[in-house]
Structures are given as structure tokens and as C-alpha cells.
Symmetry: D2
Subunit: 490 residues, 4 copies
Amino acid sequence: MDLFGTAGIRGDVDSHVTPELALAVGGAVADAIADDALAAEGTLTPEIVVARDGRVTGPALADAIAAGAAAGGARIRRAGMLPTPALAFASRGRYGIAVTASHNPPHDNGIKLFRDGVEFDRDAEDAVGTRVADGVGSADWDRWTDPESVAVLAEYREAVAAYARQFGAPLDGLRIAVDCGNGMASLATPAVLADLGAEVVTLNGNVDGHFPGRGSKPTPETLSDLRAFVADANQGVEDPGRPDVDGGFAFGIGHDGDADRIVIVDADGAIVHEDTVLAILAERYTRTSEAADPVVVTTPNASGRIDERVREAGGRVERVRLGALHEGIAAVREAAERTAADREATDRDEIDDTEVAFAAEPWKHTHTRFGGWIDGVCSAAVLARLVAAEGLDALRAPVTERPYRKVNVDCPDERKASTMSRLETALPEAFPEADVSTAHGVRLEFPDASWVLVRPSGTEPYVRLYAESDDVDALVAEARSVVRTAVESV
Amino acid sequence: MDLFGTAGIRGDVDSHVTPELALAVGGAVADAIADDALAAEGTLTPEIVVARDGRVTGPALADAIAAGAAAGGARIRRAGMLPTPALAFASRGRYGIAVTASHNPPHDNGIKLFRDGVEFDRDAEDAVGTRVADGVGSADWDRWTDPESVAVLAEYREAVAAYARQFGAPLDGLRIAVDCGNGMASLATPAVLADLGAEVVTLNGNVDGHFPGRGSKPTPETLSDLRAFVADANQGVEDPGRPDVDGGFAFGIGHDGDADRIVIVDADGAIVHEDTVLAILAERYTRTSEAADPVVVTTPNASGRIDERVREAGGRVERVRLGALHEGIAAVREAAERTAADREATDRDEIDDTEVAFAAEPWKHTHTRFGGWIDGVCSAAVLARLVAAEGLDALRAPVTERPYRKVNVDCPDERKASTMSRLETALPEAFPEADVSTAHGVRLEFPDASWVLVRPSGTEPYVRLYAESDDVDALVAEARSVVRTAVESV
Amino acid sequence: MDLFGTAGIRGDVDSHVTPELALAVGGAVADAIADDALAAEGTLTPEIVVARDGRVTGPALADAIAAGAAAGGARIRRAGMLPTPALAFASRGRYGIAVTASHNPPHDNGIKLFRDGVEFDRDAEDAVGTRVADGVGSADWDRWTDPESVAVLAEYREAVAAYARQFGAPLDGLRIAVDCGNGMASLATPAVLADLGAEVVTLNGNVDGHFPGRGSKPTPETLSDLRAFVADANQGVEDPGRPDVDGGFAFGIGHDGDADRIVIVDADGAIVHEDTVLAILAERYTRTSEAADPVVVTTPNASGRIDERVREAGGRVERVRLGALHEGIAAVREAAERTAADREATDRDEIDDTEVAFAAEPWKHTHTRFGGWIDGVCSAAVLARLVAAEGLDALRAPVTERPYRKVNVDCPDERKASTMSRLETALPEAFPEADVSTAHGVRLEFPDASWVLVRPSGTEPYVRLYAESDDVDALVAEARSVVRTAVESV
Amino acid sequence: MDLFGTAGIRGDVDSHVTPELALAVGGAVADAIADDALAAEGTLTPEIVVARDGRVTGPALADAIAAGAAAGGARIRRAGMLPTPALAFASRGRYGIAVTASHNPPHDNGIKLFRDGVEFDRDAEDAVGTRVADGVGSADWDRWTDPESVAVLAEYREAVAAYARQFGAPLDGLRIAVDCGNGMASLATPAVLADLGAEVVTLNGNVDGHFPGRGSKPTPETLSDLRAFVADANQGVEDPGRPDVDGGFAFGIGHDGDADRIVIVDADGAIVHEDTVLAILAERYTRTSEAADPVVVTTPNASGRIDERVREAGGRVERVRLGALHEGIAAVREAAERTAADREATDRDEIDDTEVAFAAEPWKHTHTRFGGWIDGVCSAAVLARLVAAEGLDALRAPVTERPYRKVNVDCPDERKASTMSRLETALPEAFPEADVSTAHGVRLEFPDASWVLVRPSGTEPYVRLYAESDDVDALVAEARSVVRTAVESV
């Protein structure tokens, strides 16, 4: 089995993410550092910050990682419990290992690797994966190190607050309900919002690796307590959450176990669609870009409403496979550098400088001006400042939320490749008015911002079809017919 | 000004509980230990455990105390953030200093002193107060110590859970809402209840010394979020909080900043009267006593319903001044020892052995079989087990809640003493059917469990009159008339 | 290969004592505790104190052990760097794991297991060894623990000093030179001696896992700096080391890397024979025993001078195989209990109560009244008090040091068993005046305190012959002849 | 009394450097930071690193400082025990407070303040002194901070070793004896030298705040153990300390309690004169300067042999009052900047750029290219590399050591000012061939490198006369006569 899935190393601590594996990964990272196999551009300190989320199995796994890495000769700084974005923040200029399974159930855990604030790309993962598979012994005895501790949290919280103050307006007592889900957000989001001036009431703000309050994954169901709490508090309150009004909450925030994800609940207790939250941030970041060519990176499953708002703000959208925002950011930047180099070579005058203004998949936002990692705490802070300035309703107003549908079409595994190949021509032929992208499945975008995405499932005998349109039923029917034909004809 | 008020050393960090005072108190305690001025019966380790609650000013004050005490020659163990009852637990066999202002506002802080698990009595407070007033230099340089750290929390939580398992029934998924008030309960109550099998949802479970979620004092107003949360969740649920039922909470728990106080909220979101909670526990502890003479210690302002339940269970009630439960416990035990000695001397056969089965003032419970300190976490655990066994309604049913009234009668400070002296005869004369106690003001108990307490206010020009009775208006009118006559006639 | 050698788990960190092995041992110990497979008499807290000596590879190995044991469900207390005897001290009432290779070279490390202050016996080692061999998975995820830290050193040092004050006289400025060998003794012996009143000058008192100052094993060669330092300082000083005299040292002390061993250097810089040191302590402990039957446990290679001094003091000596003092102590105690039970059964009046007054092999002393572990720091403290009272020369005077010889006789491995079997009769026949013991090889003791021990080598094609006698050449010649005959005749 | 003496804040912990004073100083520094009263050029992080040396009273004083500074609103990083130069290193970019009394006796302690790696100058000391005198309250409660810990030692040791590698040659097993004096050097010098390849044997390398091994001040007397140890080890060894030779030490090193001072002992056990050590380093630093105008800063009491070597190497010497090297460095740099500005203004071509290549007073060296603090560990490392390259004898050879004399001339306090004023003309008149400096007393330098310094004593009724010359008796006689005349004629 491949060590790194789409979510990094993650799984049951009994059978997959064992202390033995953690020891091996720690050793492999140290060995790869010693071999310069992870060398990013520029020079990094050969030091690894190790942190964990609040899971019960975190301390032992973090000890095992530290043991492996210290025996591998890398300098170790133990940072205790941290939100994953805070560990990423601390990994700038060096390396970071987070022991976290994000929103997985409590019996799972995982290992996420960072280099200079950014998750390992595939090459770096391969460098580690190969070493884990082959086994690397320890370093020579006199290169073993003695791990030291480091305090990260205060500096991270201050940095997030300072960053967010560039946007929106002071919170001035704005009331916000935050469901920390017994996870790492407890250590950051309430304190950051309070630092920005909010009055925060938390649900499940005690760290507990059993996630007793609700599941660690924030969904409409697991957030039912938060939704009811906000809705009930706001009953009969005219402009809830304003500090000069008695009671009520301007909005609610839900996080996952390690605080990279964020869900927004409106004053009625309804969940704001994740693509809408993404579109709001994407538009703001595009608008505030000083670059001639602001780019928002997102994933194929993200709604066309993002493209609408980004274009409206004068930017463009690039899509990258799920779980690979960091690679998308790097790709856009590299392309921009190549273009700049080309233009310089051809002596053309105008050079549109490019900025990756924002990168996000649904629920997971990389605030590229703050850092190259997914950061739900930062999202909470920035959104709170925007809500304080404009109100949540006003932020949502320009975002068109069209009906959405997700459909499976039967397709045996062995026919998937040829089906997708056939669809690359069949779908454009069937929908000639659409723009076509075949980078991650086949994605069609229509002039009215409708879109269709067709992808093979990675695990089941289906081809999946996603569509969003004012007339989604018609669009799905037509696209499904094309897909079925393709499946049968191969 | 007297260093120790009824709440120990407590006040504003700017003018009263300053780092300089903390340094001096640390030094005074160490000096008193070195002088054997605090010697309890038996020998204590000359070691001080120092902890703090989550207040912003706690770390600096705890450092100052440690500095003073270490320069005074006492061994120091730093325990970081702890609920006050956990610090008391850790002080068994040694000394403890808690930096806490309990439920005071966030700009206050305070210092609470413990000896072998029990708050300092007045003699011990005097030994410290005198030294602070006189100033004590440091110990000889080579007796200064180097503070070490100690981990207390896990052991305390296990001990509470183990103790509570003696009562009631397993929680088996019982759903409980806990409002930790951003205080120290966050570190203990949810984890202990979860360990006992509950499903816990917390409000304000993130530790924050600004107490952003609500005031640090649990009152009907500050608990409004909790009350609404429980009430709303239980709407339409038949037997809320049962694990086999969808949603709802069996009851709610509110704590103060350092987790010595507890407030219970019922399934309708109403606060259960503090005297009723006290009566429920008092009855259980009396009933489970193996002693022939079980005693419950409480304070003069506590309701007669406690006496009713304790008598029903075969015990008796003793009252002690507010804030002095630990002294009341000691007094009852000493009296029992004297009686036993007398009887032995007179060779009488029957000796009714005495147990202080419970000691409590409203909201503050000392579980004497667990330890000699006030412990809201322990209350939460024991009450949860009782609710799991019998249901909250059934627990409340036998407790009669009579109407209660509190009234001020004008009385210049200079007349207070003579007024109270006159009332010691006037009130018994006016209410000949009542039992009279003049230990802490004048308290009358009537055969139907009605009662009246008259006390001079310590800070304002009033005599205060408390009454509880089925016909409370008539009782108050009559007693007030006697009090007024007394005030005027002196 | 057997996991546990005579020195416990010990070897090169590259090939034998790897982080993987440490992880597995930690898990195995936790699993054995959970299975009650290590249950000593009485109940132990299921908690493991983990410490390490100052070796470079210690931190990583200790992390790995903690990871394994925490994932195995045992409570962990990390104690940082400690002398092995201090870890043993801290393991009383619970379990202890020391990461140490004692006097081995710096590229080695090892793992020593303790239970209630005593090294694991063979049954307990087997319980761990089997689990390491078979592999034990981790505990269920919700039983994993979070290691806490604990401070041991101050308490240990105070306990040693308090214990030593029972013997000899106050040090009153006695000057002592201590060569800590860059090991753990640095953290204890100088401070304990200073606490007892000595003026201590240290060599190699900085902890350094490379053992730069000298090898970690104290030998005449590695102690040459210490010996020269003491001898030179004492040149021309009449009564060196006395506080009222200018300069010089009363004696010198050398320790190994983890402070279980001790070597004594006299005022002339000569090493005091290890058996003489042992005899001095054995005599004192025997003399101060309040038991009717004081016993000293030692090993077969230890000199007859010990027996002389112990008998002189009214006690007896029992021998046990090398590296198994703890088992010898247990055996003597069990035998005494059986005897006592027998006598009670037969209703005899007089019962000679037995005390293991001391247990030691050369350089390694178990002060049984202090605790059941080998403790070089305690030896330093007790010996210093004895020297202060009587002077080192006076302590040595009654001990007769006879010439000693160690000889190898060729003997193929396959003949060893029958040779030894034959010698069990041949040697007694050849030396009819000797007392014979065949428990650990064949040992003959003569009326004039001469002795011979014949044992097969465990690793080489020899039978080894040890002898000590005023006329050692004659004794060796005669015994060797008997041995050769036995080898040839089988 | 002035808070800051020439040695900063230093004195008895009973009467002067009390916990109360430490609390006040911590508060004053934090207040001064908050008021921008310490603002250096550029912006510093408002964060204070607090460390202590190994004195018994250090932990309590450091706690008190942390308490005061945290209550004053400054961010605190506790660094535990550190050599003072390591604390200075850690204070770069921020502030630092060292709890140390350097070489004072154990019942003393002190407080040294650093800003961006440099000791506070008089303005900064005044900003603190005024606040301590006036009393500053704590900051508003919500600005109090929570001190965090930080690990400094490993990074410091690596930095020193990396810096030293620029000089001399690899140590390759060079044998060095280091007497750490039970102080902070134990934590750094042996490890740094070992890292550079030396074989180090330490005396008094165990940290002990009682300084049991010798006084904390390294003098010929307190270093007698070290001197004898080196001399004895080298007896009969031809080229001692060379790794290919059996035994012996190339040289010895002695430090004071906090490792800012260094004393060098040669292979014969003799102390190398402090001015000679200074001259060796000064010459090397001057020679390796890339500036056109290399400057060495030293103090008036330092020998002319320094000037000789520096001039020989192409540089110049500037003198500054004792205890104020950091101010001298700043003054030279400011002067150079002014000169550069002038020259730019006058459009002259040649600008001799100036470098403070080294700054030192006897025993105390500021390696200006490494950092602006006095650093005995760095001296040890650089000197060891120089010795490895050239041998100690070769380093000393070019330094001429002339006879030295120090004489007191009676002079009542009230006549000191006028006497010194008169000597400013009388001495130059008497010695017309000398260069004269009147910046710190009257200092005459003669063409043959002889010199005389005349200064009033700060504490006694003397004028002091220092002289160094091949014919020192004659020079002293003549100068004394001039001084006496001046005293009598006023």
C-alpha cells in the first residue's frame, strides 16, 4: 500500500499508523534531510518541529517520531499540542511534522509533513516513502540528538490576529459562537477572535481526544448543537451579534479536529455553503491583489460561483487535483516565472505579474499572503473582520448559489480509462458552447456559470458526475446520457 | 486592612493582590513552615505545591509566590494551571498555595492557602498575616531552593472518578451539558464525566482568563446561554439525556472560575436551588454513613430543607460561619473526640461514633470522605452518578422548597452590637416555639422547618434578615418588627 | 540471541539496542504490567518511571521506550537524566526503566528494568523477552497514555545523605576528590558529599556522553588522572584531606557512567582493592545488624577476606552467581521465612531472625537497609562517613589482603560439563581440609581463609581457576594439576 | 546608593540583591521597554530572555524577575541555567536579563541587563534605575504575560564552535584541562572544545552554587589544583597535550562562575599573564581585519604589550574606563561614522574604514566579530584553535612581558581632584618623551613601550600608580616623586 494517501499518512493506530510506523517516518525524514533529498530552494535549518493534535494517541506517536528523527540525526523541537496550521507556521525555514488525523474518528491518527510552511509535495513524499519501505538505520551514534521543547502558540495567535487586521473592520464586541469540536481550534480561534475584539462563546472548547461533544468532522449533523444554539439565541433578536444589542450571535464557526477546516453558520443556524464561503474570500483576495494577474487556485469539485466572483474582481481561477493546493500554488508560480523569463527573452514590454491571491478547496483555505498552509483559524479571523465590516448577508449577496447535483454512473474498473478518454471528445461535442478542461477529469464550464465535472471514482465501479446549474436536472440528464453512451461503447 | 478576608486574600491585582504581596506571602508561608508555626498534628513534608487558575495575572503571581517561598527555604513544586480542588488534593501531606480569585471578575486575583488538603484556619492565617505585616527576610542563602514541577491533573481526575463510582449508577452515555465558564473546570469536569461514561457537551470549555463567554460567577444571568441551550435541546424530547433517546441533556452543570462552585440546571433549563442540591447530597451522605452519629456541617444562611432531609436520614446538622466549613469540620471532630474521651473516663458503655458525613454551604461542597476541601468537580461526578441511578426529578422530589426572603433593616454601625445583643433575648421571646441558636447571629428554627436568621451586615449599615417559610411574608413581617424595635430601643 | 544478557539488555545502538528495540521493550513492559505478568507481592502502581544516563543516544532511546509503553497503556513519568540508583529509588512502589549501558563504551547503550526498587528477576525478564520476541500490538487506542515528567534527583540526594548519617562521623570539611567520569555521578555524589560536609573537588564532573575525560569504566588505567591528582596533592602533607591541614585529599572516588560502581583511591593514589572495600562495608553492616543472623550476599569471585571480616563480626556469607545479587537477597529472605515457618510449626522457642545486612559484588554494592539496588552514590556517602570517623588506613587495617591469581586451563567446550562434574569430587578429595561449595562452580575455602574457585568459561575453551592465598603459587599449582587431570581423563 | 555599580547590580542576597529588588528590576525593565525608554537603533522584539548561573539563589531571583517583568507586560522566555555569554547571545534582537554575580562569593548574586547582545549602557541603566527608585506599578491586568521556556544552549555552543573554526587549526585530539570552577563553563567550554576535536579533562565540572571545588574567582591561588594537575601530568612529557604523545596537557583553562572570564595555564602549570593572553588575541584579530583601520579597545590598566602587538599588526588601541568595553566599542564606531560623514562632506577620496577588531580588559574578552558581549567560552575555543596551529609558546614568544608594579601614594579624598588636575601638566612635563592620555587618569606611554598610569582610588585615600617597564623601579621612583609633590603642593 502506498504510505501517503490523498490525506497524507492517515489511518487506524492499531493497524496502520502504529508507533513503529511513526518511528520509521521520523527516521526517514531525518535521513532524507541528511541526504539533502528534501532540499527546497534556498537553505533550510536541518531542524524538525514536532507537534500533535489533541488525540489520545498523539503523545505516544509524537514520542516515536521524535525518537526516530533524533536517532536519525535531525535536531528536534517538541511543540506539544498545536493546531496543524500553527505547526505549519512554526515549520517556516525548517521542517515540521504534525501528528494529526484532522477530522477522522478518534481511533485514527496520522502524520503530516511540512517543509518551510508547505506540505510535502510528491517528490518529498516519495523521498520519505522510499526510505520507510527500504528501512534506514539510525545515524552514527554521535550524531543522535537531544530533542528540545519550543513554544509556538502565542506567536502564532499574534501573527494571525495581526494578519487579519488588514481586512474588514474591528470586531468591537461582535458576538460569535465557536464550536471547537473538542479539537485544536480550542487553543487558537477563540483567543484570536477575542484578541480582535469579539465576544466569543464556545461549544466543545475543552480539548478531548475522544471528541465527546460531536464528531471531529464538522457536518450539518455534527454541528446541530451549534446551529440550534445560534438559532435559539437569535430568536426575536433583530440584528443579532451586535454588541449594542442584547444577546444573539452574528454567526457561528465550526472547526475540525486540527483546525484546518472551517464551517460557517449563519444567524439562522443554517450552514453557509462551503463554496460560497470560498467565493467570498476569493473575491476579497482578488480585489485586494496588487498584481496585474491575480489567480485563485481551487479544485475541480468547487463551484462555478467562485469563478464568477473571481472574474468579477478581475482575476482568474486555476484548478488542481483534490488535496494538492500546495502543488497548485507552486505550479502557478512556476508558470508565471517561466512566462516572465520568456517575455524577458523576447524583449516584450508588458509583463503581467502574477499573484496566487488565494488557494482553497471547500472548507480548506490557504491564505497565501499569510502562508502556504491550510489555515482555518486564519479563515475565522479574516471572515470575522469582513462580517464586522459588511455583515454576513451582504457578503453572501453577490454570490449566486445554483442547484447542485452529484450522480454515479455504473462503469466497471477496466473500462474507466477508455471511457474517460472517449469522454474527452464526446462531452465537448455534446456541449459545444462550453469551455473544456481535461486536467482532472472532464470539466465543462458554460457561459451562464453552469458547470459539469465527470471523473472516474478512485475506489468504486462508477464514473461520477457533478453539476451545478439553474436547471440542474436537464443538465444532468443530458450529460449522463453522454456518459452512459461512452461507457457502453468502449 | 486585614490581609485575609472571608474569601482569603483576594482583590484587584493593581492595588491589593500585587506581585509584591504575592512575593511576601510566599516568603511568609515558607518562614512559618520553617518556624513550625503551621504545624498540624502529625508531620507534614515542608514542601509547597503552587498552582494557579486560568487568570491572565496568574503566571506572574505564581512566579512571585514561588520566588518568595523558595527564598524562604521551602521546597516548591510548581503545578501549573489547576482547579482549586485539584491543588487542595495535591496539598495532602504538605502545603498548597492556589493563585485564584474563584468567581471574581478577571482583573482580580487572590491567594488561597492549604495545609494537608484543608484551607488554613485562622491561627495559620494569622501566622502568615503577621509575617507579611512585619516583613520576614529571606532564609540564609544556602537554604534557598530550586522549584521543581509536578503533574497533578491526571491523578486528581482518576481519584475523583474512582470516588464517585461508589455512588449511584454508571452513566452509560448519559448526556450532560457543562458550562465551564472558560475556567478551570474545563480541565477536569468534562474529562471526569466522560471517564464515568457520560456524553458531555461543553459551553465555554476553552480556558481564557478574560472569561469571555460569561462572567466567572455562575448566576441565573450568566448561565443564560447554558439554560437556553439545555432547554432548546430538550424541546419535545420525552426523557432527555438518556443515551437511547435522540438528543437532549439529562441536566446541565455550571462552574465558577476555579471549579470549587457548582450550579445545577434541570432539563427545562431552570436552575435547581442551591439549597436543594445541598439537601440532596446531604441526605445521601447521611444515609450512607456507617457512623452512629452522622453530622452535616453547613452555614447559617442555608435552608431548613437541609435539616429536614438530614434528620429524615438519621443525622444532625451543625452550622458554622460562612467561609469556614473547614473550621466547622474540625470543630465537630474535636467535640466528638472530647466526648469520646469523657465517656471513656466515666466508663460509660455506649459511645456514638461521629462522622462529618458532608459539609457544604450553598454552591460549595466538601465531600469529607474524599477530602477536606470544597470540590465542585467531585460534586459534578457524584451528582451525575445519582442522576443516572434515580433521575434528577426523583432526587428533588422529597426536598420541600419553601418561599425564601432576604430583607435589610436600617441600623447604624454603632448600634449593631447592642441591637444584636438585645435580639438574642427579644427574638426568642417573640417566637417561643422556635429553637434558638446564637452562634452566628440569631437563628430561629420552627417545628415546620421554617427558619429566620438575623445578622448584622459586615460592610453596610444594615441588620440583615433571612427567612424561609410556607408563609414567608407573615414571618418576615413579624421578625422585622422585632428587629426594628430592637434597633430603636438601644 | 537472548535479549537479556548478564548485564541486562546492552550493546551497540546500531545493531542491537536500536530505537526499534527500545520501542518494543517499552511496549512489552506495559503489556506485561497490563497482564499482571510482573505482579510482585503486594500491589504496585501501574506506572513506569523512565530515566536515562548521559549517553548521547539516551534521549532518543528514552523517547522510544516512552512511546512504546504509552501506546501499551502504562502511565509514564519521564525523569530525564539520572544515576541508575536514583531511578531504582524512584521505582519503589512502581516500575522503572533505565536507559544505560553502565560502564560500556559510548557507542553502546542498554535498558535496565526495575520493579519496586529491584532489578527484574529472570521470570520478569522472561515475561518481557517473550513479548518482545512475539511482538505485542499496542493497547486499544483509548488506553494510550500521555507521559508526564517527574523530578527525582533532589529527593534521592536527600535520602542518601540522611541514610549515610547513621554511620561514622560528620565530614566537617574532609577533602575528597571525585572522578565522575563525565557520567551520572556528576549529578549526585559531589552534592551528597557536600551536603554531608565534605570539601569536594571533581574530575570530569561535566556530563558528556562521549566520556571525553576517561573511559566510562573505572580501572587503574582510566583512573590514572585521579590517582596522580590525589598523590601529587598529598605529597608532603602529613594527614591529607583533614580540613585543618593545608591541601591534600583524604581519599579519592571513581565512578562508572551511571554511578552504580565505585572505586576507592587511597591518599597515595593507589586503588584500594575492590574486595577490601567490600569487606570493610560488609563488616560494618554485619556489626550494626540487630538481627541474630546477619547475612552478607556476595559472588563466587569475591575474596575470602570478606568471609573473614563478616565471621569476625558475627555474621555469615552467602554466594550467588555474578549479576544476580537481587536474586540472592530474595533467596536468603525466602529461606529465612521458610525456616521461621518450620520452627513455628515445630513449636521451638528460639528463632534466629535473619537480615540480609549487605549484598555486593566487587565494585557494586547493594545497601539493603537503604534499598534493593546497587548504589555507588550511597557507597560514596557511607564510606566517607566511615573514613571521617576512623580514617581509611584504620578501616583497611584488619582486612588481610592475600596474593591473588587467575589462571586459564585449556578445556574444549564439549568436555566442560563432565570436567566440572568430575571436579566436584576430585577437588574435595585433593583438598580434604577445605569446605566445599558447588553452587557456582567448585569453590574451596580453607581454614586460613585461602580459597580456590574453579568455573568453566562461558565464552572461551577454558576452565578458569581463581585462587587467593598467602602462598598462592603453591595453591594454584596444586589445583591446576587436579583440573588438568580432570580435563584429560574425561 | 546607586543601583548599578561598575559590575552592574551585584551584592549580598540578604541585604542588597533580594527577591524584592529582583521583582522591581524585572518590572522596571518591562516598563522601560513599554515606554520605549530603551529603544536602540532599529526595532527590538519586546521580549526578555531570563537566565541564571548556577548559584543557589538563582532560581528564586529568576522567578522574581520573571514575575516582575511579566506583570510589567513584557514577553518572557525562561532559559534556565546559562553561561552569561550564552544569555547575551540569546538576547540578540531582544532583551536579556542574567542572574549572576560572576566571580563573587556564593552568598552574593547579581543582575546583568542586555539589549541586542550588549550590556546596557549608562542611559539604559538610568532608565531602569530611575524606575526602580520611583517604583512602577504593574501593567494593566490584561497586559500581563505568561512566561514561556526557551532552549539556548545547543545553539550557542554550535555558534561558538562554528565561529572558532575560522581561526588556527583543527584540534585533532589536543589534550586540554579545564577547571570550570563548578560554574557555568561546565555547560559550554568542555563541550565546545570536544566538538572542535579536543580531548578534555575537567576539574570542578559539576555545577554547584556553593563553589565547593575552589572560589568562583580564578586566581593563581584558586587555580592551584588545576596548575598542579597540569604540571604533574606533564612531568617528563616532551610535547605535552599532543594526541600522539602519551598523556599531558597542551594547556589549562580556568573560568569564573558565569564563564565570562578566562585564565590560561601553560604546560608547566604557570598562569599566562592576562595581558599576554589579551595581546595574543588582539594581534590575531588585528592581523585578520579586512578594515583599513582596525581598532582594539581596552582599559587603562592593560599593558603596553597590547599596544605593541596591535601596532605591529597594523592597528591602533583605544582605551575606555574599566567595565565599559561595550561603551568603548560604541564610541569607536560612532567616531568612525562621524569621520566617514565628515569626509564625505569634504569630498576627500580616501576613507579609512574602521573595525573594532577586538575589545578586552584583562581576563574578559569581547570577540566583536562574534558578538558584543564578553565571552570566555569563545576565548577558550579561539585560543585552543590558535594553540593547535602554532603552540602556546610560539604564540607567547613575540609578546614582551616587562616588569610590572602597582603603588599607592597617600592622598586625602578632598585633595584628589586638584592633585589629578595638577598631574595632568606635571607628569608630561616630567616625562617629555612620553605620549600622554588624560581620558582615564593620566597615562604616559614611552617609545620603548614602557607606560605609567596614575589614577585616584575610588574607595580609599590613595592615588594609585601603575607602571610597566624594563626598569620599572626607576620609572616608579621618578613618577612617585612627581605625584607626591603634586599631592603636597595643592
